[in-house]
Subunit: 339 residues, 2 copies
Amino acid sequence: MSDDRRLDVLRAIVQDYVQTHEPVGSRVLVERHSLGVSPATIRNDMAALEEAGYIAQPHTSAGRVPTDKGYRLFVDRLSRIKPLSAPEAKAIQVFLESAVDLDDVVDRSVRLLAQLTHQVAVVQYPSLRRSALRHLELVPVTDRRLLVVIITDNGRVEQRVLDLDDPLPGHVVPELRARLNAAVAGRRLVDLPEPLELMVTQFPAEDEALVRRVIRVVEDTLAEATEERIVMAGTANLARSGTDFTQTIRPVLEALEEQVVLLRLLTEMADDSAGVSVRIGHENQHAGLSETSIVAAGYGGDGEAVARIGSLGPTRMDYAGTIASVRAVARYLSRVLAG
Amino acid sequence: MSDDRRLDVLRAIVQDYVQTHEPVGSRVLVERHSLGVSPATIRNDMAALEEAGYIAQPHTSAGRVPTDKGYRLFVDRLSRIKPLSAPEAKAIQVFLESAVDLDDVVDRSVRLLAQLTHQVAVVQYPSLRRSALRHLELVPVTDRRLLVVIITDNGRVEQRVLDLDDPLPGHVVPELRARLNAAVAGRRLVDLPEPLELMVTQFPAEDEALVRRVIRVVEDTLAEATEERIVMAGTANLARSGTDFTQTIRPVLEALEEQVVLLRLLTEMADDSAGVSVRIGHENQHAGLSETSIVAAGYGGDGEAVARIGSLGPTRMDYAGTIASVRAVARYLSRVLAG
DNA sequence: GATTAGCACTCGGAGTCGGTGAGTGCCACC
DNA sequence: GGTGGCACTCACCGACTCCGAGTGCTAATC
């Protein structure tokens, strides 16, 4: 009873099933893969694999289908992810580098990933929390309205309008702008509170209220988790032909529209692993995603990722290829943002 | 042969079919609508309506279904759009007004519309071309990199990084910023070229190249039609249960992901009419949308719309309700952006 | 002890076939 | 012009059969 061969059989089942979308039987298995034994032997192995919970049969007279547990084993131990070819890699790089701004980079990344994996791709915008501030700009709109523009080092821009109770003294703005930027530039968000607090004391008492309001807006804006944005592409891939996945589309689309769900998911996966991480079927708590797998990776930042990208599809997906694509796009995305 | 009654019959057919999603026969028609005549009479009318191309039968022994032409007549002449109730209107207003910035307004609008119509909603970002500039900001990032931030009167923000050949003389930036804003503030994009050109001449010759580059970037950014962005929501509504529309999902999703397609569509519809306009089934050239109808309206700007919103669903949709919702959201959106 | 050949068995899917009923078109009549 | 009546059509449904892929088991073989 060779354990190695059983794993070979599991690998073969996963590969075949991913390719054909049909339960795979013992005969086709020995035909398509050179396993060197007869169907009967395979059947014994399959019985053992089923006993162990790695595969299941939809109904008595059908072939076997991998279970979530089977996919998990496959992903963890049985698949080798082949790196992309040199031309592919080059194409990715060129495509991303020709983006004009952050929105464009993100947009291109998500489309690219959707196209590479033939699945739904999601890209999270670089987190404000973890980015450093490049510049703060104050623009008086009227004498009671102040526009605050926040620019981060990776090119993200946020703006807020501030309604003031009292008219704005003209002289304050330039000074406030200068001091704010001095206090803030280059620092990461988490490091902000103290220098800002220190700064307030340097203003005359009558301006303190205003200064505090501006600081408040900046902090609020940067702290708002709701501002985490996600873009996605490739939803049409969900509706691929010839698959019962069609029945599952609705809940998946609903989950995808709930950015909160996606964000939590990506965040959880960030804890799983530093590199590429995979969630398979029921490993996702969210009910609508129980027949869905997600492959995600962080990007940006050295060491600590600034945000994440992911690819989402039926559990029956090409894990090796998807993992390779996700990793590649994440890598080039990091490179482009750093450059 | 009363022409009026025939139209009543058509109206009844459309209403019933939209509600039940099943071909409607002469009997149920007289049962559900008080038409005051017998099924046989209705059958005669139906024969005439079919002859005229307003309805069709899927197969011989089935009831009738409206054709695109039938829907068109219904929309143009037979449906009265009931305004939303006061509480509904109030809810919309409150919901939109509590948005914190432009992104948030757009995001809320599109979700709201999707929820109101139970269909896919799309919202086009306010066009840069037609907006006026509120402020231009120049931020030196390094001595060879200049960040240009463009802020419009409706809150949209665009940024571009400018790579310079020569190091940036420190003194130029503040002056350039001041002059640019003086030349530009409050003007609409189409009116920009001359004042900018005029401005260049006021700089010393050695700075002219730099000034021209900055101006160039501004003009390019604003001119780029590709920068027109669209957001959408409610794609899950496409996968509603109990409808053959399920088969049509794929091409629709594909069309929706091609922002270009959507943009062209919305633009074309802008030509159709100033108010709410409707495209039904084959009236859309795009192949994937031949079983889809779109209801769109402009928003923002007085008189001339700054961008558009729309709702998209199967031709078999509740036109009266959708039109009412689209119009309402467009109106409140305009109000929020103006305020 | 592992592998294999052979064989009986199971059961989903595809194909066939009337029965049923909704709906129509037409005709004669009011 | 409107209506009742009637013959006709045809998609849908359930029952039934047939087929074959695939299995598990047992006994023979390496």
